[in-house]
Symmetry: C2
Subunit: 366 residues, 2 copies
């Protein structure tokens, strides 16, 4: 078991990572003194599998557990769902102190965080991530969000959880698609901050794909550590530090959006986005072609896509212009200087972006 | 013209107060560098009266002005309206940098602030309050909110504006009810912080009611100064300092709610709440009966209610228990030690609250 502190003055909190630690949760909640009624946002699958376990961990310490199910789909990340949850929460919130638990993956975490941040101008919430992607990435850092028709995550707040409780035991029931999605973000951490992790993945990717316990725990801890380190330097993405977490996401988001979030999932889109960013880095002389290939090989070996088959270049470019971060006329790319080191480049010529997408992706051969 | 700085580190901003200063707005916006497309939330009456003036002040400095009308009613402060505004905003938000202007009273300010705080995790907004209540109170301090069926302001954020621009010229078209509503909050400031202001009101209330320019400007400046001083010590109401701004509001909110927000408006309810709080203060030996009477006389002279005619005691008590701040079993009252000094008292016996409401209000004779 490991505890990583995210130091953000008044908004500081711990990330607790371990195997089969859920039974310790009640003690942690008691110590935080955040309330005695848990309103648990989750989906039916997670509740069936682990609901009783979670409820017991809480009620044993005098904390009531009320489950609220939402469909496990990006569609749940809407203002309508948030609104209906808040009304339900207000009806349930009677006399005691209420707090929220996000028990699930990224969708549930983003939505629960958003609801927590605006109900009564902020009530406490806890992240209990159950997917690899959520454990290494979305549960940490306080970015809450819902989507609009115009784009993903267009509505939200910066609102830190009071605790992130990552029990790697929950990962053992993940399917291969979810595991790969998580691995895409893990490769991202390696590329922006940790060459040793990149080498570890090259050697041990089979263990990760097979959900082997020590590999998973090592990876989750390492990524949480990296993310915590970045967040505490730039909580609200104002200093250009947190922005490196968007490596692969500029093009990745455009690919997701161009396919209407149906053709490629987030992990797949980020994998493709990282390949594009690597190619742009190489084209601008920041890294060698060999390095680009080494990155592609790891992504391909893990079973993530390296080729865009079903989208038109023009649709990706169009979606790219609608990006939340795209204000004014300048684009902004997080590029690589080596494995583990980044460089932010603005105004990458459109021709080079198109080239990276067209030559290297739409007709990519490895 | 006067500028009051609200010092909140990164969230600091100025309150600019003056007569006929709206034409200077464009320069201020330019200097803040917050964007070049203004999305102006207002109502039809304000737009008809002052819309062209505001648009000119902006366009002259290269800032586009898009007006969005919402009905001038507490009903507009809903999650549904917020949601529809955000969708409209996202459709309008194309390539340039957008910011929001709240151009109206408290409803528009609370709603515009809330929308600004959650769209793209926060975009800049400016308060241009047009009512007395908004100029002295709701436009300052960054409390944003919408209502739920379960209660007022149950959803919201702490999100500071980038500028509060109070042109007292806008006050000259207020009707008497709106003026009195503002005066209720002004009496509140005097009671909690400023004996000199209380004496000023006793002498000059006629000038204020008649919307005379120097009186209004003096009062708006004084109250803004008091509120800024309180906010900068306790931005998010965590230290028990900001809470004194709720003087008269504990019972006031209950009176508003018990009448379904139709029997008494906010100012009237706060006036009644302040009388109740004064009686409780006197009953607990904090102030004399004479002082209580002096407070009642000012409130009555201004034309605010000192008697509750149309509500049942039990409904007020019931509504009081539903208060947002009422967590756990203890109630919390801001009481007076003298004019200008407060004391926070928890666990005021229900009997004393009922007594203050029953004997002194439901059958009050002055």
């Amino acid at each position: 078991m490991k505890t990583i502190k995210v130091s953000l003055q008044k908004n500081s909190y711990n990330i607790v990572i371990g195997y089969d630690i859920i039974n310790l949760l009640g003690k942690y909640v008691r110590k935080l003194n955040i309330g005695c009624d848990a309103y648990i946002l989750t989906n039916a699958v997670i509740k069936n599998k682990y609901g009783r376990l979670l409820a017991k961990a809480l009620t044993r310490h005098g904390i009531s557990a009320k489950f609220k199910l939402i469909p496990d789909s990006e569609k749940s990340k809407s203002l309508e769902t948030a609104s209906s949850l808040i009304n339900d929460l207000a009806r349930y919130d009677k006399k005691r102190r209420i707090f929220i638990i996000a028990f699930g993956g990224g969708v549930i975490g983003d939505l629960a965080g958003f609801v927590s941040s605006i109900y009564k101008r902020g009530i406490p919430y806890i992240q209990i991530p159950t997917t690899l992607l959520a454990q290494v990435d979305s549960s940490i850092g306080g970015k809450t969000a819902v989507d609009l028709a115009q784009g993903k995550n267009l509505v939200g707040t910066f609102y830190q959880p009071r605790l992130v409780f990552s029990d790697v035991r929950f990962l053992f029931s993940l399917d291969l698609t979810q595991t790969k999605s998580g691995l895409a973000e893990i490769i991202k951490y390696a590329l922006i901050k940790d060459k040793a992790l990149f080498k570890y993945l090259e050697k041990n990717y089979r263990d990760a794909l097979a959900l082997k316990y020590p590999a998973l725990e090592f990876i989750v801890k390492r990524c949480a550590d990296i993310k915590a380190g970045i967040i505490q330097q730039d909580e609200k993405e104002e200093k250009g530090i947190r922005t490196i977490l968007n490596f692969g996401h500029t093009i990745g988001h455009a690919i997701e959006a161009a396919g209407n979030y149906r053709v490629y999932n987030h992990g797949q889109a980020v994998a493709l986005g990282m390949i594009a960013a690597s190619h742009i880095s190489s084209r601008l002389g920041l890294i060698s072609g060999e390095l680009t290939q080494r990155i592609e090989i790891l992504i391909k070996t893990i079973g993530l896509p390296v080729k865009i088959n079903e989208l038109a270049l023009s649709d990706i470019i169009k979606a790219h212009y609608r990006d939340k971060k795209f204000t004014g006329k300048a684009n902004k790319f997080i590029l690589l200087k080596s494995i583990g080191r980044t460089k932010i480049v603005t105004n990458v010529p459109l021709g080079i972006i198109k080239e990276a997408l067209k030559k290297r992706l739409l007709s990519c051969r490895l």
